[in-house]
């Protein structure tokens, strides 16, 4: 049998990569609120008078587009982190 001499590679690497990915998803979940905060702080640097003021409609669209983006992002992250929460929360039941 040649199988016995095979390098023990693929399964472990697969596991490691999955663990690595999951860690990065957690990192993303941690920085997501920071992203939201920064994006919503951007109106602070918009000029308030003179030329180049942002029209109300555009400002409104900006705020709500960011909002929608953040909701989608959070939805995606919460979907990816489903396993994590399940694993942790069933200890209480």
């Amino acid at each position: 049998m040649t199988r016995t001499t095979e390098r023990p590679g693929p399964p472990t690497v697969f596991h490691e990569r999955r663990t690595y990915r999951r860690r990065r998803v957690m990192d993303a979940a941690r920085v997501a609120p920071l992203l939201a905060l920064i994006l919503w702080m951007i109106p602070l640097i918009w000029p308030q008078s003179g030329d180049g003021t942002v029209s109300s409609a555009k400002a409104l669209i900006y705020v709500f587009v960011v909002w929608a983006g953040i909701i989608l992002l959070t939805w995606g992250l919460s979907y990816l982190l489903a396993g994590e929460v399940d694993e942790l929360s069933d200890s209480d039941t």
Partner: protein
């Protein structure tokens, strides 16, 4: 039927509907059918308790007055919800594992279950929430008056009546559904269900009005946006500090408001719901705020100048003749107000009864809480009274403030007050060094500054704070003016108060925490809170996901040996049908591996080692204890082994010594036998020889005969003496000797011994040194035997002392219960290896000086034993020193 009457009828019907919903939900919960009652959707909707009538009506008003500022109130909570992974999850886990019942309970629990902190937070919450409840009552009465204005108007006293019956109805609802049970986790299924229904009503109402305004009035989305650009707020314009400050404030309030904390943490049934709420609640907030600006713009367009923009949501549909829509809008506002009052009353009453009423009640009762049922009833009663009290407090506040502009701004004022809890709360969750005194200092500083710079001025200048203080500062100090602390002017009042209160709060909290030392309970709770995820996971079976088979292989090789480990892993890989020679780390395999390792290093150690590598679980206390047990057992075993081996080596040493002694004795015995046979043969030979001469010689002179006969006689005497000694020893040894006890002095015995020993002195003189004064001791003993011992010792000294001028010192010492007589010569003494032999029979120190049979000292020792004393060889600085000890009973001091 007038519009007002219809409104009242709709209100009553709606309230009855809510009662039914809550009742049905409680019934379902009681039957255990909680599945859909406790779904992520219900949880998300219940979070909308954050959006009160103040936001329902006020957002449009705020947009009409201040432009986009209203958005901040929704952006803050959105950011908090997006922070679910690192913030809310932890908060909820803490709340669930620590059985937290309110925000005051959380703070108190974290800081060593401090009742003072709990009471402080409760008071802060009551002060901050009461005006808020008044605000809800005001919004309902205002909306009533809008409808009433269409018919015959609403008098002031009628407004008061509406507010009164509304608050009574809300109190009744809250008492009915909020205090049904004393569930440990304080969950209220009926209330939560009703809140969720009201959340839907709110959203649908606002969306309907918005859609009507955008598509029905403005004529489409693009048109609506154009109208916004064309309206008076045309361009983006906000106060920058307020934009940032209000986002922070609303985020803080979302975490700290008693009612949001109640639904977010206390009523949470499953951490998984948070995962859905993390995006669904921001969506709810987004939808709620979506049409606010279009409604405001439409209101400003349609409504006459000077009309209250806070009521545009209601007045715009009414003005356009949409009575049904207006009714729906009214119900939305009504829902916002009622749900807020209900949940705030539940949260506050829990806090008031748990942290203020019950401690006082238990303190006042002399016997304490001895009967459990008693306390239960008391808690329920306290909670009911608290609910009615809180709602009535809100009503009173409403009546006293008589509505008006002052009340409208109270929302943000309350936010700012409750945000003072935030540093202590977040600090407690993420910083183990936060202490009770630190939290207390921070809360006090923040609360005091908030009270002075924002809350008291909010009643209007001159009502509570005198005009003089506002103009000249406290105590006439200009830098203590409530609107310009430290002389920094020009800041807007709310931001001014927020900045200083939070700054002093955080600085005091951190500084005092750094310098104080927490109590043991605080430190325990700190560890529990900060490391909640390590503490709250239960021991579970191995979850293979993260286990690293290669690492396991390395470890197994170290413990089992390379060959065995590879065989084991290969066998399991085959069994799993894996392609490589490493099996997947399934629970089965891990258990088998653990067993295998356990046979080498012990079960607990193996479990801990596998656990460390798989990372599936932290080592539990039980594991550590098991490891410690095994280690202790091994230590005990090895200690026992060590003890046994020490004992064995001790025994072996003794045996070796005994063997040496026996060997030496045997040598001595052989020497003695040859000696005694020589001693016996010598006289026997001369006796035989001279007796033959006497027999065979005929011519012999009488002189010769006499000489030969005396030789024979002497030799026979020598033989007799030798035999006497032997006999004497055996007699003394067998205890057959008769002691001839009589009185006499030690001096006499010594005199006799010295003179006897001097007989036969041939040539050299032994100088004997004595102290006669001390020898006057009367003895009652066998003096002859004692003298025999002395003679022996003196004779030995003479025989063996090898000094040029031999000297023997005889010293007598009288002690309490014995007399000690030392015989010390100035010779070279006895060799150390011979010391233990000299009292043995037939022992002689050296063969050359053999003058006797080697029985002397053996006889001495036997005699002294018979006399109740002892004779020993005592090592001395020089020379041989024999010590004779006589017991006191045989020694009497001389007169």
């Amino acid at each position: 039927m007038s519009t007002l009457n219809l409104l009242v009828a709709v209100c009553v019907a709606y309230v009855l509907f809510l009662f039914f919903v809550a009742f049905a939900a409680d019934r379902l919960a009681a039957q255990g059918r909680k599945a859909w009652l406790r779904s992520p959707l219900i949880y998300t909707l219940s979070l909308s308790i954050y959006c009160t009538a103040w936001t329902f009506y006020g957002a449009v008003g705020s947009a009409a007055r201040n432009g986009f500022e209203y958005l901040t109130i929704y952006l803050g909570p959105t950011i908090v919800m997006v922070s679910w992974w690192w913030l809310l999850r932890k908060l909820i886990r803490i709340g669930r594992t620590q059985k937290i019942t309110s925000i005051a309970d959380l703070i108190s629990s974290r800081y060593g279950k401090s009742s003072l902190l709990a009471a402080g937070v409760t008071i802060l919450a009551v002060i901050g929430t009461t005006p808020y409840i008044a605000l809800q009552l005001q919004s309902v009465t205002l909306s009533f008056s809008v409808f009433a204005a269409q018919s015959d108007g609403l008098a002031a006293q009628d407004q008061a009546i509406v507010a009164f019956w509304l608050s009574m109805g809300l109190a009744l609802f809250t008492v009915l559904f909020g205090t049904r049970n004393l569930d440990a986790k304080e969950r209220h299924d009926g209330v939560v269900m009703a809140i969720a229904v009201e959340a839907v009503v709110k959203l649908v109402a606002l969306l309907s009005v918005g859609i009507f305004v955008v598509w029905g009035v403005s004529g489409g989305l693009t048109e609506a946006l154009n109208r916004i650009d064309a309206s008076e707020f045309g361009h983006w314009h906000t106060d920058r500090s307020r934009w940032a400050g209000l986002i922070f404030l609303s985020a803080a309030a979302f975490l700290c408001l008693p009612r949001t904390f109640q639904v977010l943490v206390v009523e949470n049934d499953d951490e998984n719901h948070l995962r859905t709420a993390s995006w669904a609640f921001p969506l709810y907030l987004c939808l709620i705020s979506l049409f606010v600006v279009p409604i405001a713009v439409a209101g400003l367009d349609i409504m006459p100048e000077g009309s209250n923009p806070d009521l545009f949501v209601l007045t715009v549909p009414l003005a356009l003749g949409q009575n049904g829509l207006a009714m729906l809008s009214f119900l939305g506002g009504f829902s916002s107000a009622t749900s807020m009052v209900i949940v705030a009353a539940i949260a506050l009453s829990t806090m008031v009864s748990n942290h203020i009423v019950m401690p006082i009640w238990l303190h006042l009762r002399p016997s304490g809480a001895s009967v459990s049922g008693d306390v239960r009833a008391a808690v329920l009663m306290a909670r009911r009274i608290s609910i009615v009290g809180v709602v009535m407090l809100g009503y009173l506040y409403f009546r006293l403030s008589s509505g008006g502009e002052a009340l409208a701004s109270i929302g943000l004022v309350a936010f700012c007050g409750l945000a003072q809890v935030l540093p202590a709360m977040l600090g407690g969750m993420f910083w183990r060094g936060a202490t009770r005194l630190g939290a207390f200092a921070g809360l006090t500083a923040g609360f005091a500054i908030w009270l002075y710079t924002l809350y008291l001025p909010s009643f209007g200048v001159g009502t509570i704070l005198p005009m003089s203080i506002v103009e000249n500062g406290l105590f006439g100090l200009a830098w203590l003016r409530p609107d310009a602390l430290f002389g920094i002017t020009g800041m807007e009042q709310l931001m001014h108060a927020l900045l200083w209160s939070m700054l002093f709060n955080v600085v005091a909290f951190v500084a005092v925490s750094l310098v104080t030392f927490p109590s043991p309970l605080e430190r325990l709770q700190a560890a529990q809170f900060v490391n909640i995820f390590e503490h709250s996971t239960n021991a579970r079976s191995w979850s293979g996901g993260t286990a690293q088979t290669e690492d396991l292989m390395v470890m197994a090789q170290r413990i089992l040996g390379a060959g065995e480990a590879q065989v084991l892993f290969l066998r399991h890989a085959r069994r799993q049908g894996a392609r490589g020679n490493l099996p997947a780390p399934t629970p089965d395999f891990l258990e088998a591996l653990e067993r295998e390792l356990g046979s080498s290093v012990g079960a607990a150690t193996a479990h801990a080692m596998v656990g460390q590598i798989t990372g599936g679980m932290a080592i539990s206390v039980e594991d550590l204890m098991a490891v410690a047990d095994e280690t202790a057992q091994m230590l005990e075993y090895s200690a026992r082994l060590k003890e046994q081996s020490e004992e064995l080596s001790r025994t072996a040493l003794e045996l070796r010594n005994a063997n040496q002694k026996l060997t030496r004795l045997s040598v001595q015995k052989d020497a003695f036998l040859s000696q005694i046979s020589h001693e016996l043969r010598t006289p026997m030979t001369s006796i035989r020889a001279f007796s033959e001469i006497l027999r065979d010689t005929d011519q012999m002179t009488p002189d010769e005969q006499s000489r030969y006969a005396s030789i024979i006689h002497d030799e026979a005497q020598r033989l007799t003496r030798l035999l006497d000694d032997l006999l004497d020893l055996s007699v003394v040894e067998n205890g057959q000797v008769n002691l001839n006890l009589r009185d006499g002095t030690l001096r006499d015995a010594l005199d006799r011994a010295v003179s006897s020993a001097a007989i036969g002195e041939d040539g050299f003189q032994l100088e004997i040194k004595r102290d006669f004064g001390k020898e006057n001791i009367v003895l009652h003993t066998d003096l002859d035997r004692l003298s025999q011992v002395f003679i022996n010792l003196i004779a030995n000294a003479r025989k063996y002392c090898d000094a040029k001028a031999p000297r023997l010192a005889i010293r007598v010492m009288q002690e309490a219960d014995r007399v000690v007589i030392d015989f010390q010569d100035n010779g070279s003494g006895i060799a150390p290896d011979a010391v233990d032999m000299i009292f043995e029979k037939f022992a002689r120190v050296s063969d050359q000086k053999a003058g006797g049979a080697g029985l002397g000292l053996a006889i001495c020792r036997q005699v002294m034993t018979r006399l109740g004393g002892s004779v020993d060889y005592v090592p001395a600085s020089r020379g041989a020193n024999f010590r004779v000890v006589l017991p006191y009973r045989t020694a009497l001091a001389a007169q």
